[in-house]
């Protein structure tokens, strides 16, 4: 494994992330996966929305695009359409992808366009200082849920699977080696790959919910994670507070830009034969 520092814009440091934030661990996993995959640095585009997680694009030395809140996937779709040769990675937060960008997520998954999406899920809007997100568990506290969250969170992997994503996996900042493996498989996969990476925001989510500092939150990720196999034998109530890690979907389905290229080829041949 090479040195991931060559993928960092170190001249742009220090970064904005708080001490103990899980986002740096996840970004490290992304860079290791890119390194192991041996991708050509010049041919990788990393695209993000808005949020603490989405600030990752500024720190990495690829073609990087920091877009508008929730919209990384449609920007990525346009780029991938005209540059199908490029490897496109989307880095996004849980608010970015599950709230304002939720519609884009399901449609990118449905098209099965070759984009690898990594969601940094810290169960909160970190950047705007701790409001609840669609990933905040019921009854947890947030600045806009001072009496405890009344809403139910998404199961993001189930959502992506149902929408048609062809590679879907979940891991955590604690299980960084497993996470790196899944991101690597996502990069190698042809089609829409979706990796949910459970992160921690000690500054807002941790403090509000008295979860302790970053080490305690990572401990919590370790203690509460179960595999897909373990989850199968558990009652729904038992599973509620657990993080189910593993690969949910891994299947081969025609990829959108390849299908489009075939159309162009077909029309071109018809033009010649006329």
């Amino acid at each position: 494994m090479g040195d991931i520092h060559r993928y960092l814009r170190e001249y742009y440091m220090p970064h904005i992330w708080c001490p103990g934030c899980g986002h740096g661990i996840i970004l490290g996993a992304v860079l290791r996966a890119i390194d192991i995959a041996g991708l050509d640095q010049n041919n990788v585009a990393v695209i993000s929305g808005i949020g603490c997680a989405s600030r990752a694009t500024g720190y990495v030395d690829f073609c990087t695009l920091h877009t508008t809140h929730g919209r990384a996937l449609p920007f990525a779709t346009g780029l991938k359409m005209v540059r199908p040769d490029m490897k496109i990675v989307v880095l996004t937060g849980d608010g970015d992808t599950a709230a304002i960008g939720g519609n884009h997520l399901i449609h990118a998954a449905r098209r099965n366009i070759d984009i690898t999406t990594v969601v940094f899920n810290n169960s909160v809007y970190g950047m705007t200082s701790g409001q609840y997100s669609p990933m905040t568990p019921t009854s947890r506290f947030a600045t806009t849920a001072p009496y405890g969250n009344l809403e139910r969170p998404f199961d993001l992997c189930a959502l992506a699977s149902a929408a048609g994503a062809t590679y879907v996996a979940r891991s955590t900042a604690y299980h960084v080696r497993q996470l790196t493996t899944y991101i690597g498989r996502g990069l190698a996969h042809k089609g829409f790959s979706f990796i949910e990476a459970v992160s921690q925001c000690p500054t807002y989510y941790g403090r509000r919910n008295r979860l302790g500092a970053a080490p305690a939150m990572l401990e919590w990720q370790k203690r509460n994670s179960i595999s897909i196999e373990q989850a199968k034998d558990m009652e729904p109530a038992e599973r509620e507070d657990k993080i189910v890690t593993g690969e949910f979907v891994n299947q081969t389905v025609p990829e959108y830009t390849e299908v489009y290229a075939q159309l162009i080829g077909r029309l071109g041949r018809q033009g010649e034969s006329r």
Partner: protein, 398 residues
């Protein structure tokens, strides 16, 4: 037998009976557009339908996105990949595009946005003409930003101004709006399409230096010292030039910066680069203005009625003239100002309650009275209505 319809081809070099929306699609292909993302909305939908058919035949790509926000985003992504890109919409969709339109202006990504205006506000009158988005085209997205918008009155002008929209977007690295209205979008006229070689096509300035020397938002090599209105060179993603693009206020290397002189410089430079190009962009198709005592200012579909009214007024002995800007943003301020100093009064004719008339008033600066004649019920004003308004301005009894 082919399973797909016969190809339509851009710029065939012969006359055709075309709808405004068709002329727009033909103009886009002729200008080199190779990516379109859109979401159907009346009265712009034909553009998406035609692009879905024509683009793959020209090696380009079409996608129908999940909404207009996504369409605008995809267009910007494609442009960064090196493709000339366009989207088309109408009022409700134009509203949805505004945030990403501002992103394109701030990050200097060339692209073309067609807004075929329909009756508003809200869902309004989907199949009826309006010109209620004139100020939205200028100020629809938040923050200080440059704006370029062209307004065709005829179908051949739709073709011509679509090409000009792409060329301007590329040359200035800025989004350009083709502001049509339902009249022009759906009307059919005979158009003499130029053959492909006759269309002047402009490409964005691409890097003249190797990646190691490239500064994404720096002045182009050879720019004069102190140039505060430059257009930076733009590298396609995936060509060896690695750089950052962000909607946060950014320095010359593309990375985010905080408040201060560099932020001030960036926002001012973007407006200046368009102001500096304004004289080249200006294109006024005037009729009978040289000896005019009364000036009618009108654009787009409304100008068709205005022109007829001006001719009728001449028959009645009123020295009327039509000032018809096809570039409405940047507004042809000087041209209107100098005419205002010569004429006895100006009538602005537009399908709204007074939008471009505000600019005309500013330019006239009290030199002559300025009145506005507008309609907002989804009906194009008749020449006789405009004539009456003109005669009232002259003080004649109607």
């Amino acid at each position: 037998m082919s399973a797909v319809p016969e190809p339509t081809s851009a710029a065939t070099g012969r006359s055709r009976l075309l709808q405004g929306n068709e002329a727009c699609a033909e103009g886009a292909i002729a200008a080199g557009c190779r990516f379109f993302a859109g979401y159907p909305i009346t009265p712009s939908t034909e553009i998406a339908e035609l692009m879905s058919e024509m683009l793959p035949r020209h090696g380009g790509r079409f996608i129908q996105m999940e909404d207009e926000i996504a369409s605008m985003a995809a267009v910007i992504g494609a442009s960064l990949g090196g493709a000339k890109a366009m989207t088309a919409t109408s009022g409700p969709g134009f509203s949805l595009k505004q945030e990403n339109l501002g992103f394109a202006a701030f990050t200097e990504i060339p692209c073309v946005i067609v807004d075929a205006q329909r009756g508003g506000p809200s869902s309004g009158l989907p199949t009826a003409p309006a010109q209620g988005d004139v100020m939205q085209a200028r100020w629809g997205t938040h923050g200080d930003h440059p704006a370029v918008a062209f307004c065709p009155s005829t179908v051949s002008e739709v073709f011509e101004l679509t090409v000009k929209a792409f060329n301007t977007a590329e040359a200035l690295r800025t989004p350009v709006i083709l502001l049509m209205d339902e009249v022009v979008a759906h009307m059919r006229e005979k158009v003499a399409l130029p053959s492909p070689g006759e269309v002047r096509v402009v490409d964005r300035p691409r890097p003249s230096v190797p990646p190691g020397e490239y500064i994404a938002y720096g002045p182009p090599p050879g720019a004069p010292a102190g140039d505060d209105a430059y257009v930076p060179e733009m590298a396609d993603f995936g060509t060896g030039y690695r750089y950052h693009v962000t909607g946060l206020t950014h320095g010359k290397n593309g990375l985010p910066i905080g408040p201060g002189p560099e932020a001030e410089f960036l926002v001012r430079r973007l407006s200046r680069k368009v102001e500096k190009a304004a004289p080249q962009l200006e294109l006024n198709r005037n009729e009978l203005v040289d000896d005019a005592e009364y000036l009618v200012v009108s654009y787009g579909g409304a100008a068709r009625s205005a022109l007829r009214a001006v001719r009728l007024a001449r028959e009645m002995g009123v020295a009327a003239g039509l000032f018809r800007p096809t570039t409405i943003w940047p507004f042809p301020f000087q041209a209107v100002a100098s005419l205002a100093a010569k004429v006895k009064g100006i009538l602005v004719v537009e399908l709204n309650l007074g939008q471009l008339s505000l600019e005309v008033e500013r330019a006239a600066a009290g030199h002559c009275p300025v009145q506005q004649y507008g309609r907002v019920g989804g009906e194009l004003m008749r020449p006789s209505e405009v004539l009456d308004a003109l005669l009232r301005l002259t003080g004649r009894k109607v």
